[in-house]
Each structure stands twice: as C-alpha cells, then as structure tokens.
C-alpha cells in the first residue's frame, strides 16, 4: 500500500499557503462594503498576483486622432464599439469588450491600445469607468 501524497501534505502543513489572498484573506461581510472602505482609504486590498507586461486589459482610446472610419466596429467580435456618427468618433463598452485587441490592429490611425489594467469589475455595466470615450 502506498500513499505517495502524504509526505507532501505533511510538509505543506509547515509551509505558507499557496493562495494569494486577493482581495482579502477571508470573505468580508459585504464585498461592496469592503470596496467602499477601500475607496475611503480605511481598508487596504491585498495586491493581486502581478500581471505580465503584455497583458491585454482595458481599452485606451485617443479621440483626437480617430477619424471615425468605423473599421474597428467592423472587426469587433463582441459588438463592444458604438459609432457616434454626428462627431465621427466611437465609444467602447468595456463590460462587453473581450479584450481580443483586434480593433487595435485594424485601426489606421493607431489610436487604440489595450492597457494592462484588469481590475475593471463593477456592479453597473454602464459605470463611468466602463465606457471609454476619450
């Protein structure tokens, strides 16, 4: 009879847990409450595991150079981009974007890029921070 995992188990007892306690070691009584406290500077979040340099995160958009060609809309698989024909600009809905980066490649003016920002959760899909217009 062999139980090869037992030595591993016993030795882990004396090691630090592998979990990164993000955003807090234990579930807080209310998550939104914790976030409010963080915003007020009363509490601190445990940092997430550092993301690699070339992570595909939240969209950045340079409104000045955009010419309103709407090519980005044509390739966006998630229908996350909305045209504003009146001013010949576009608007990005981060909650819908799948961060594929296809729009950044087709844009003739290189006014799009994906930043490394990935903590974009919000309880409102149309939160200010989740709509990129400039």
């Amino acid at each position: 009879m062999t139980f090869p995992i037992v030595p591993d188990l016993l030795s882990s007892l004396f090691k630090k847990p592998n979990t990164n306690p993000f955003p807090a070691p234990q579930l807080p009584p209310t998550v939104t409450g914790l976030l409010d406290e963080v915003n007020q500077g009363k509490a601190e979040l445990n940092p997430p595991v550092p993301a690699p340099e070339r992570l595909r995160g939240k969209m950045t958009y340079n409104r000045e150079t955009c010419i309103g060609c709407n090519l980005c809309i044509k390739v966006c698989p998630a229908h996350a981009i909305e045209a504003i024909p009146a001013v010949k600009k576009v608007r990005f809905y981060v909650s819908q974007c799948i961060q594929c980066g296809q729009c950044t490649e087709i844009c003739p003016k290189q006014c799009l890029a994906l930043s490394g920002e990935f903590l974009n959760a919000s309880h409102d899909r149309y939160d200010r921070s989740l709509i990129v217009e400039r």
């Binding site: 139980f3 037992v6 016993l10 007892l13 847990p17 592998n18 979990t19 234990q26």
Partner: protein, 335 residues
C-alpha cells in the same frame, strides 16, 4: 436513582449537550483549517462551522412532497439526541462527576448506541423519498455492518484482557480509564494493541462518514446521498450530530488507548479545580491529535472507496488486522 439524581443528571446532560456541540463545531473548524493548510490553501476561518449552522438555522426547512414527514423531521432530532447520549457514558479526563451516567453503561452499550445516529440517518434517508437518498441509506447500512467487525474485535480484546486479569467489570470504561491497557501487556500484546489502535483510527472515518468511507454521502456520486433532501434546521441538526459524534468517537479512542492524565504523569499536586482544568486541556489536546490522524489526515490523503471496497477494507484488511491484534493481546498472557 432518586429524583434529585435524575434532575442532576438531566441538567448535566443539557450542559454536556451544549459543550459537545460547541466543541464538535470547533473541532470541525480546526479540521477544515488543517486540511486546507495541508493542501496549501488558506481555508475558512475556524469559526466557519458556527456560521454555517447559524445560516442553516435561518434557512427554509424543505420537506419533499413524497417524504414521510414525521420520520423525515424526526430523524435529525434522534441523531443528535443519541449522539449526545453516548457522550454521557464516556469518561473524560478523570474529571469528577463525568461521565454523568457513570456506572450505568459499558462498552457494549456504547457500541450499540454508536449505531443509533447512523440508524437515524438511514431512516431519514429512506423517508426522504429520493432515489439518491435511498441509495445512500442502503450504503450507510452496509457501511455500518462493515465497520462493526473491527470495532467489536477491539472491544472484545480489551474486555478479554481485563477479564483475564480478574478485574471486575471488564467491559466498563471506568476500568479501562483506571488502568492504561498498555501497562498491562508485554511486548507481544503491545504489538497487538498497536494493531488495534490503527484499526480503531480507521474505524473513525467510517463512523463519521468521512472520505474514504463516505460512500453513503459521496458528494460527487449521489449528491450527498442520505442528506440530499435535507435543508435548513434539519440539516443543521445532522451537522451538529456529526460534530458531537466526532467528539464521541475520538473520546472513545482516547478513553481506550490514552487514558493518562497530565496531573498524574507529572505527579503535580494542586487543588482539584486546577487539576481538572489542566486535565481537560490535555484531554482536548489528545482528542485533537486523534482527530488529526483519524479524520483530517486520512480524509485528504486517499480517494473514496466504492461501497464494496468499503466492505472489503473493513472486513478483509481491518477486520483481519483487528483479529490479529486481538489474538496477540490474548497470546501475550501466555508468555
């Protein structure tokens, strides 16, 4: 018993019930944290089982349409009550007044009482009217029968040893507590006792329905089996009975194999209360150690057995081991 005594015993029983539930849940919390650490996780806070019970208590208590309500609702109460009852017979840390029903029951009674919570679960499972619960109930019955052999062999070995020495009441736990059995045997018997200890440690997960002997509940197979239809208060009662049962079986092992008290070992003389406190703390520590080796470590280091393997393991491996242990203990007297 006079009326006074009965009242006293009843009051004591209530206090015991309270402490055993709190203790059992605390043990469950420690068990979960230890298991988590061994799996390199952080795990829940130790108070999590208490939060779980509090949550279950305020949740709706669903009784399925095709259940037999009186049996379905009665089973958890019986399970908890019987689990607490066993505790009233088990000596603890030589604290005066414990067990409350001292002198009224012996090991054989305890063996029978141990079946009661399991039987209550079987009844509840059969009454639930769900195929998964029925499968679970059938498996629970099979498991019960399976672990009975090693358990009985151990208890017989103990009783035989004490009886062979001409001690009165060989089946009484007080007898076992008074004379640590290890001191009564020679090297051969020592080996036998070791085997019996290992067997007993592995009977515990069966008694408590933990991995690898948790076929009756088998979350990934039959979705919680016996307990699949239970919710709210009823589930809380079952959880509590399991918590109390943890204390019961670990105390039983400690009572049988490790009845030493710290004050006796160190031979310190202090007032009775302090001594009791010290002994209680030492007793709880012993329970924790037993729980670690019989529940926590076992349940995370193996895969779950099929029900036929449960029987095979209990009869063909542990049963043989226990019988061997028993014979060694008996043979010891010949030398």
């Amino acid at each position: 018993m006079s009326v006074n005594e009965i009242l006293l015993a009843a009051g004591g029983a209530l206090i015991m019930a309270f402490f055993s539930m709190v203790g059992g849940l605390w043990f469950a919390g420690i068990d979960r944290v230890l298991a988590a650490r061994m799996q390199a996780r952080i795990g829940p806070p130790v108070r999590q089982p208490f939060l779980d019970i509090a949550k279950l208590m305020i949740k709706q208590n669903v009784v399925p349409a095709n259940a037999i309500p009186w049996l379905f609702n009665g089973a958890p109460v019986v399970a908890l009550a019987s689990a607490v009852t066993i505790l009233l017979y088990i000596p603890m840390a030589g604290i005066p007044g414990l067990p409350i029903l001292q002198g009224h029951g012996d090991l054989v009674l305890i063996m029978y009482l141990l079946i009661l919570p399991a039987l209550a679960m079987v009844a509840g499972g059969l009454a639930a009217g769900s195929p998964y619960a029925t499968i679970g109930a059938q498996r629970e019955m099979v498991t019960m029968i399976a672990y009975e052999l090693p358990l009985a062999a151990t208890i017989i070995a103990f009783a035989w040893k004490f009886a062979s020495l001409g001690i009165e009441h060989p089946f009484s736990l007080a007898t076992v507590a008074a004379q640590p059995v290890w001191t009564l045997v020679g090297p051969v018997g020592f080996m036998g006792l070791l085997l019996l200890l290992v067997t007993m440690l592995l009977v515990v997960p069966g008694e408590l329905g933990r991995i690898p002997f948790d076929a009756p509940e088998a979350e990934t197979e039959i979705a919680g089996g016996l307990l699949v239809e239970y919710s709210g208060r009823n589930l809380a009662l079952f959880t509590l009975s399991l918590a109390v049962k943890t204390i019961v079986v670990t105390s039983l092992i400690v009572g049988l194999f490790f009845p030493w008290n710290l004050t006796d070992i160190l031979a310190v003389a202090c007032c009775a209360t302090t001594a009791a406190m010290i002994n209680l703390a030492f007793f709880i520590l012993k329970l924790l150690v037993v729980m670690f080796f019989s529940v926590t470590l076992v349940r995370i280091s193996v895969a779950r057995f099929r029900i036929n393997q449960v029987v095979d393991v209990y009869w063909k491996i542990l049963g043989v081991l226990a019988l061997l242990g028993m014979f060694l203990v008996m043979a010891d007297a010949l030398f």
